[in-house]
Symmetry: C2
Subunit: 108 residues, 2 copies
DNA sequence: GGCCATTACGGGACACGTAAAGATG
DNA sequence: CATCTTTACGTGTCCCGTAATGGCC
């Protein structure tokens, strides 16, 4: 399965259009980032970027991955907080109910 | 961010109720799997499993993570195939339409 | 004593950073 | 020549597997 690390790298590159610029945004150097994307292409068996003289451009497959990757990363980024909140008791015990008559009952 | 590797490990353990059994299912040994879950607990800063004399049991936070992790993993597992299909041209350009009359039209 | 989880230790894979090389306008 | 990407090389970290230790019926 694709690891999130590689997805993050690819999304940054695809959004910036330059490996160099994306590396700066991710706080790393260009060479490791370039290899990360290459590894992803090798894993998927297809090119994700068109290498241009001035930067890169996502291929068709790259665009598809960009969309999917954003969805997965967005969901994954919320997991950590959700679990911690549950551990603190702020969530997880919350039950939400719908009835047709609850609104008629006074509290207490 | 939590890596998918750790999520897969935790889901297997939580579902099996035994680190030993989950390790067999994942094709690995118990010690690395035990450490993987410990690493996840350290990352989240809360216990995910209650260690019992016969196996383990998810805590409240563990149950919350189990649910989230399944959703993320399910989504991530489809990414790879989706991108490869797009690269082969089987998807990405596919438009699906619904009409009220298409069924009345003969092919050709 | 048997079962299960954990710690200890050595080996391999992967990613990073720096430095040098290749490609293109 | 300037810009951007890629390859080369050495280092550090993380994970794995085997072996030994700890806790609880």
């Amino acid at each position: 399965m694709i690891e999130l690390h590689r997805l993050r790298a690819f999304v940054a590159v695809a959004e910036e259009g330059h490996i160099t610029r994306a590396a700066g945004k991710l706080g790393m150097q260009q060479p490791p980032l370039s290899r990360l994307v290459q590894g992803l292409e090798a894993q998927l068996g297809c090119r994700l970027l068109r290498r241009m003289p001035r930067g890169v451009e996502p291929t068709e497959a790259g665009l598809a991955l960009l969309e999917e990757a954003r969805a997965v990363l967005a969901r994954a980024s919320r997991v950590e907080d959700a679990v911690r909140r549950t551990a603190r008791g702020e969530a997880g015990r919350l039950a939400v109910g719908f009835t047709s008559s609850a609104a008629l009952h006074p509290f207490g």
